[in-house]
Assembly symmetry: C2
Homo-oligomer: 321 residues x 2
């Protein structure tokens, strides 16, 4: 029974230390320290993720005075490895929540934390070896593609023509695109083209410019990512064709969500792949220490359709993303 | 942004109601009501689940004064349908956490709750129609069989002979047994027999009595469930063969966990399939209202090996199970 165990350990330590400073020691001994290691805020999505990590740590620190957090951000794998070793050596963390910068170089250092008996939560990117972490939290790439595809299927007339922008060539991108295509199967919607915009605003601008010069009829665009959607919208605007097609991005960037809230016809909906998934990971890890709920396992966060009706709950004006 | 929305709604209501009773109204308006509907405590596992539901509701009510809970238990599907309709009609719940007594008759009533815009969490047993619930929380039957199988594989000498007791013939039981067999593949452990003990103590006693009379050498028993393990242990004791074989049950019944803590050689380990999964479901549903963490999706709780070293964290002496 975790809660009681924590209390007993603290009481025992007070007994050993004597009564004089008992109260202060008890409070200190009861502290559970959770390390959070994430990539730096180098682009929009990661900026949002950093903001949500801080927001969640603030909420949990206020709710549970016995929880303490150590947050570190890294712009490279080597720095992240150092951060984690430092959390173990100087802070003696009880748990680690980590979004690995890369899988391969982080696997051994994270395994060392697990082997030392700590609770380990891995977020979004799996390790190179299975079964190390206690809890895995990630988004659902299949649902991300399916939910978007279903919206195109249900909101376009027969004979409609669309174009797709793909991300960086990865398994993740394949999963999304295959699910999108599957959702459209049997409909009369035609996919004219699918090129890689690499989740990059400028690349997406170039790909869309090319589509616009090639195809006289485009009724809708699956930009599949909000950074790409921004590039796509610029290209459409430059071609003076803004009234001809709508655009669906993805991941819930705040500027895009705001336009959905405001009823912008060019951006009718969006699909979530929330940077706040780091919040779910930190909250569930905290539950391991403050509740009796089992939190070991696999939590796959569903991708939801953001519509004008529900957009407010996905809008975080203070977040950079 | 959920937290802020909640606050704004309360503030707006205070403004409408006037200033005189503002404070009281604000507190009332901010209450979020979570309905919890579970089967009655008709057997050991469900008794544990009922206890954990109450324990979690107590913890959350103390931690978050703005959360309110309505708990109902049902011994039949018709009663559970009534309970849920009553929660909607008389308490206007904001969320429902439900472990369906049966899938088929509960699907339409739970869909009605979802269609009314409530947050719906389904636990352990899926509905007949996919995609209704926001959050699905369940145990991992494949891991349940695999973890047990790996223990047999790693802790028996070549040439060892074992017997298996199966549950009620169901997909769930098939998943567990197939994963168990797969974990043993390539080892020199022989499965002598696999008969259905139906997760029942008396049936398991009879099956084991039969095994004992048939097989002169049995080195270990996978009872696959702690109720069955109790029946198996009685049969072994009656045959005076307690020193010849060890027994692995499953689900973490407190009497069994206690014996593991005490280093009982006949019961070296156990595999979790925790009745506290209801706690995970209630805690995560609560997070939907008190945090910004996305909690929609699928949480599959891993099955863990309970050993003498870690048994204390799985031991709940106050629970009936």
């Amino acid at each position: 029974m975790k809660r009681r165990t924590l209390f007993k350990a603290a009481t025992a330590l007070v007994a050993v230390m004597g009564l004089g400073t008992g109260m202060a020691v008890a409070q200190d001994a009861e502290k559970t320290i959770i390390g959070v290691s994430i990539p730096s805020a180098t682009h929009g999505f990661m900026g949002g993720l950093n903001w949500h990590a801080q927001d969640t740590i603030k909420r949990l620190s206020e709710t549970y005075p016995n929880l303490e957090f150590v947050l570190s951000t890294a712009g490279a794998s080597a720095k992240q490895v150092n951060d984690i070793e430092d959390m173990m050596a100087t802070r003696n963390i009880d748990a680690l929540v980590v979004l690995p910068f890369e899988s391969e170089p982080l696997t051994a250092p994270i395994k060392a934390v697990k082997d030392a008996g700590k609770f380990v939560t891995v977020v979004d990117r799996g390790l190179s070896q299975e079964g190390i972490e206690d809890l895995y939290v990630a988004g659902d790439n299949t649902a991300f593609g399916r939910v978007a595809g279903e919206y195109f299927r249900d909101n376009l007339e027969a004979g409609s023509k669309i174009v797709v922008l793909r991300g960086i060539p990865t398994t993740l991108d394949n999963e999304r695109v295959e699910a999108f295509q599957k959702a459209l199967e049997g409909s009369d919607v035609e996919i004219l083209d699918m090129q890689h915009g690499n989740w990059n605003r400028d690349d997406a601008f170039n790909v869309m410019q090319d589509y616009l010069s090639k195809y006289p009829q485009i009724d809708a665009v699956w930009a599949a990512d909000d950074d790409m959607a921004i590039g796509v919208l610029e290209a459409i605007s430059a071609a003076n064709r803004s009234d001809q097609m709508w655009v669906i991005g993805g991941a819930g960037m705040k500027e895009i969500v705001k336009r959905i809230m405001d009823g912008d016809k060019q951006l009718p909906v969006n699909v979530t792949y929330p940077p706040a998934l780091i919040s779910s990971a930190i909250e569930m890890t905290a539950l391991n220490f403050v509740s009796n709920a089992p939190v070991s396992g696999r939590f796959i966060i569903g991708s939801r359709l953001i519509t004008p009706e529900n957009a407010e709950q996905y809008y975080f004006p203070d977040s950079p993303f």
